[in-house]
Structure formats: structure tokens, C-alpha cells
């Protein structure tokens, strides 16, 4: 796999848009040092998602145009930008959650570890089994706390030591201490913040490689938001995380890399586009693009 990085380097697909693509300078190390290949040390973590010139349409409406970016293993990548610029759309196309939208259409390619996610022999159920998702609004099942976490492992054949798995997932989601005495109670009795952490526990219980989070804290109060952020830090490294957030401080606090999306006029209609993708410090400190600078300094709109 690591050799694949070298071979794709410098072969970025021709960018149709004037958008600046991810810089090819190696990203700073995040503690993961790859093996040496042909005497070269591979310093950047493996590419998990390679989105190549992706455009997304809902019927006649184009929601996203020409998104090219790479998401690397073990990192937290934040997607920020104004409302309606296609962050959710892009996130949901990473695990094919948009397939259920009848008018959805995608152009370009999204490679997951080199495999085309929308390839002909790809099974969408398998995609989601490896790429988990947590939604904007907590959506626990109307079941007990325990069953919320245990349901998917049970159905995926991960039945051995189920109790341990549930406990581990709930600990991983920093919820265990609050619910360990009432695992049999309905999940609907939990507070919003607890429900969202339960949804995270449910997602990590099947040990996906990637976690997609769509504004996981937007419906929560500041304390619950803080808990979710701490959780992000603790999950870092174990999962590759892509998080959509409208909260820029949150992105600055949790993300290694940040992608700024915005609405651009393409012809008559505003269409979502990737403006800049770089290290979080660069995006918030010295962004290259004036549009990014305006947005992160609050001069947007």
C-alpha cells in the first residue's frame, strides 16, 4: 500500500477547476512512520480516501463540483464551510449513504484504499460496515442501551464476548460510567449528549476503520459538546475520522487537517466547491486563499 503512495504522487488528475489542491509537501508526522520503501522513508500516513475530481448532483441541481482531496489514515480531517456548501453531501458520499436518494448522481472517483467506492462489484453494505457514520441528530434505536450497541455486532456475527465488546465500545465513547448500572433501560431516556455518545459507541462497536461524523455536536449543549470533543481526541489514531462541523473553534481544536468548502458561482447557480485543504494550523493561521481567510476570520458573508 505504501508503495502506492509514491506511485500516485505527481499523478494527480488534471484539476478542472482553479481550486488549489492539497499541497504535495509531506504532511507533518502524526506519530505514524511508515516503513522505508526503496530507501525512501514514507513519512505521511497511508491515504484512506482519494477523492478525484468528484462532482455530485441531486437531479439537475449540482451540489458539489470537482472536489479533489486525500484523507489519510489515523488523522482527524475536518470539513468546514457555510451552510449548504455540500459538506454533508460529500461526507455521505464517502460511505454511500446517498445511494438511497433517488436523484443522487456522482461523477469522478472516490478511492478507498485504492478501491473505487462506487465500483461495479462493490457492496454498499460492506462499505458501511467498514466506514461507520454518526449523524447530526442523535438517532438511537428504540431499544435498551445495551441492545443499541450490541445489535450490529450480533448481526455481523461478532457474537463472542459480546458483553465485553459492548463495555469497550461504551468506554470508548466515554459513556460507560454514566450508564453501566442501567444498561437494560431504554436508550430514549438518555439526554441528548448521552444519546449522541451512545450513537458513537454503536458505531465503534463493530470496529470500522473510518468514522464519519456529521456535525455530531450541533444539537448539544456546550458541556456535551466538550465531552464529544474529548472523545474525538481519545479516538484519534484508532480510527480515521472525518468530521463535519460548523464550529470553527471545534475544527481548530480537534482536527489535523481541515478542508474549507464554499459556495461558488458556476454559471448562474451557486455550487459547492473545495476551496482549500491543508493542515489545520495553516487553514486557521495563514490560509493561502483569501476566501478561506475571510471565512475563518469571520468576515464571511
Amino acid at each position: 500500500m505504501s508503495a502506492g503512495i509514491d506511485s500516485t504522487r505527481g499523478q494527480d488528475p488534471p484539476a478542472r477547476s482553479r481550486i488549489r489542491i492539497e499541497s504535495d509537501t509531506p504532511v507533518p508526522q502524526t506519530g505514524i512512520t511508515g516503513p522505508s520503501v526503496n530507501g525512501h522513508r514514507i513519512t505521511a500516513p497511508e491515504v484512506v480516501f482519494d477523492s478525484q475530481d468528484v462532482s455530485i448532483f441531486y437531479g439537475a441541481k449540482q451540489a458539489l463540483a470537482g472536489v479533489t482531496l486525500r484523507i489519510r489514515s489515523g488523522q482527524i480531517t475536518a470539513l468546514i464551510g457555510p451552510s449548504g456548501c455540500g459538506k454533508t453531501t460529500f461526507l455521505r458520499s464517502l460511505n454511500r449513504m446517498n445511494d438511497s436518494v433517488p436523484s443522487f448522481r456522482i461523477e469522478g472517483q472516490i478511492l478507498y484504499h485504492g478501491h473505487d467506492i462506487y465500483g461495479g462489484n462493490v457492496d454498499q453494505v460492506e462499505v458501511r460496515r467498514r466506514i461507520g457514520m454518526v449523524f447530526q441528530k442523535p438517532n438511537p434505536f428504540p431499544k435498551s442501551i445495551y441492545d443499541n450497541v450490541a445489535w450490529a455486532p450480533r448481526n455481523l456475527g461478532l457474537k463472542s464476548e459480546l458483553d465485553d465488546r459492548v463495555e469497550k465500545a461504551l468506554r470508548g465513547a466515554a459513556l460507560w460510567d454514566e450508564v453501566k448500572d442501567r444498561l437494560k433501560d431504554s436508550a430514549l431516556g438518555l439526554s441528548g449528549g448521552q444519546q449522541q455518545r451512545l450513537c458513537i459507541a454503536r458505531a465503534i462497536a463493530i470496529e470500522p476503520s473510518v468514522l464519519l461524523l456529521d456535525e455530531p455536536a450541533s444539537a448539544l449543549d456546550p458541556i456535551a459538546t466538550g465531552a464529544i470533543e474529548e472523545l474525538m481526541h481519545s479516538l484519534k489514531g484508532r480510527f480515521t475520522i472525518v468530521i463535519v462541523t460548523h464550529n470553527m473553534q471545534q475544527a481548530a481544536r480537534v482536527a489535523d487537517r481541515t478542508a474549507f468548502f464554499s459556495l461558488e458561482m458556476s454559471g448562474e447557480k451557486p455550487t459547492g466547491a473545495l476551496i482549500e485543504f491543508d493542515d489545520t494550523e495553516t487553514i486557521f493561521g495563514r490560509p493561502r486563499d483569501p476566501r478561506t481567510r475571510d471565512y475563518v476570520t469571520g468576515r464571511f458573508g
Binding site: M97, V125, M133, F135, K137, N155, S186, C199
Partner: protein, 291 residues
């Protein structure tokens, strides 16, 4: 004052045509209330007259022994026929509802919904005739033929009722289970059906309550049962409550009338209890779904 804009400092009493609108609003409210009262009154009058005339016939013997003293075989026969009908109609109805809500696109769902609604409107005498031609003519009457007839009556009620509660299951829950990489049918069986179970059971009970009193199909399919013999065999004609009420009231014999009223009371009580129980169950499961 110009063009209906009230003086901001005027007292907050009605201005313009608000008085007229208030009168109209009151009239609407009163007519609606009267209509509701009439509906309740009809139910009360029916139940009351059935109680008045049927109560004197009621006794343990009446419920548990066979003719001429009791109606035990009819109650048993109705239970067998309706129960079998439910066993046929419930799985089919729930599967149809699941197809409509979980699998069919709008293009397939529309015609099926229409079919169910038309089916619901078929007069039961025609269903009876159909069953007679299909299962009884040139063969013999049977409880099973009656069950099939009642199943045809129950099917659209169960399918439509289940569909409605399945639609109440929030789509966010479907998304949640999809996002876990579990095959759709497992989500349907493990998450969606259990979330809607209360409503599905309710729809079934209401359909059963409706079918339990249906007479027309049974006149064709199971009218020759022997009311002096308890029987569980659905392959022969089974005595049953609705047909017996019908034949007894045709006979013009005062004792028969009393028995018919007694049976009516038993039947109507069972149906009322079943319906009320089902409603309570539905309310509970809706509350559970809402958290």
C-alpha cells in the same frame, strides 16, 4: 380609520370583521360537536339495546354449553375460523406493508395501495360468493373456506394499518441501521418491525374485530355446522356466531330471539374489548416510539 389597520393604542377588543369570523367559528365548532355526539349516541343506543335484550340470556351455561341451552360451539367455531383467517392474513398483510414502506419505490407502491383500498371496499357478500365458487361449490362447506373469506376482508385492513405505523418509524432509524453495515432485511426484522410492533398488532386486532362479525362469507362457506356439537375441525362446516344470529332471527321463535340477542351481546362485548385493548396498545407503542 383607513384600510383595516387598527389604531395601535385602541383597546384590544374585536375590530373589523373579527366578530363575524368569531360567529362562524363558533357555528363550525358547534356542528362538529353535535356530529361527534350523534356518533357516540348511536354506539351507546346500539350497545344499550343489545344489553337490554341480551343480558337476560347470559349465564355460564349459555356461554359454555351446546345447543339447545348454549352457544359454546358457535363461539368455538368463530374463534377457529377467525383465528385461521388471522393466521393467513397477518403475515401476508405485514409483508405487503413492509414491501410498501421498505422496498417499493413510489411507482410500485401507488398501484398496490390503490388495490388494497379497492379490496377494502369489496362488499362482503361478493367475497362470500367468490369463496363459494372457489372453495365450496362442488365440494363442501368448511370453516377453512370461511377463514379464507375473512382473510380477504382482513388483509387490506392489516396491510394499510401496518403500513401507517411503519411510516411512523423515523427514517433516521433506518439510516442508523443502514450506516452500521447490516443487511437491510436484518434491519427490517431487528429494528423496524419491533419499533412498529404495537401498531401492527393493533391493526391486526382491529381487523379481527371487524372480521369476527362478518356474516356474508360464512353464510356461503360455513352455515351448515351442527350447533349441538363442539368441533375444532376446520375442514368441515363449523357452527359460528354471526350465521347463528342470522338463522335464529329468521326463525320467528321467541326463545331463538332471546338467544340471538344474547349471542349479539357476547360478540359485541368481545369486539369492543378487543378494539379498546388494541387502541390502548397503540397509544402505548406510539408513546414509546416518541421516547
Amino acid at each position: 380609520m383607513s384600510a383595516g389597520i387598527p389604531d395601535p393604542a385602541a383597546p384590544l377588543t374585536p375590530t373589523g370583521n373579527l366578530r363575524r369570523r368569531q360567529v362562524f367559528s363558533k357555528m363550525t365548532e358547534y356542528s362538529a360537536t353535535i356530529a361527534a355526539v350523534i356518533a357516540v349516541a348511536v354506539l351507546v343506543i346500539v350497545v344499550f339495546s343489545v344489553i337490554q335484550r341480551g343480558a337476560s340470556a347470559l349465564s355460564l351455561d349459555f356461554v359454555f354449553t351446546a345447543a339447545p341451552t348454549g352457544i359454546g360451539p358457535e363461539l368455538l367455531g368463530t374463534a377457529v375460523i377467525v383465528g385461521l383467517g388471522m393466521v393467513i392474513a397477518m403475515p401476508l398483510g405485514v409483508l405487503i406493508a413492509l414491501f410498501l414502506t421498505e422496498y417499493a419505490g413510489n411507482r410500485a407502491a401507488g398501484p398496490i395501495r390503490l388495490t388494497l383500498d379497492l379490496m377494502n371496499g369489496i362488499p362482503s357478500i361478493i367475497i362470500g360468493l367468490f369463496i363459494f365458487g372457489l372453495l365450496v361449490d362442488h365440494k363442501q362447506q368448511s370453516g377453512l373456506a370461511g377463514s379464507v373469506g375473512l382473510a380477504i376482508i382482513m388483509l387490506p385492513l392489516i396491510a394499510r394499518g401496518s403500513q401507517e405505523v411503519l411510516l411512523l418509524v423515523p427514517s433516521s432509524i433506518r439510516e442508523a441501521s443502514d450506516a452500521l453495515g447490516v443487511a437491510r432485511w436484518r434491519s427490517v426484522l431487528g429494528i423496524i418491525v419491533p419499533s412498529a410492533l404495537g401498531g401492527i398488532v393493533t391493526a391486526t386486532v382491529l381487523a379481527v374485530a371487524r372480521a369476527a362479525g362478518e356474516t356474508a362469507p360464512l353464510i356461503f362457506a360455513s352455515s351448515l355446522g351442527d350447533p349441538s356439537k363442539f368441533s375444532l375441525n376446520p375442514l368441515e362446516a363449523l357452527p359460528n356466531v354471526p350465521v347463528r344470529i342470522f338463522t335464529l332471527s329468521e326463525e320467528g321463535n321467541p326463545e331463538g330471539f332471546a338467544q340471538a340477542w344474547g349471542m349479539s351481546l357476547v360478540l359485541i362485548s368481545l369486539i369492543l374489548f378487543a378494539s379498546l385493548g388494541a387502541r390502548a396498545l397503540l397509544a402505548r407503542s406510539k408513546r414509546k416510539m416518541a421516547g
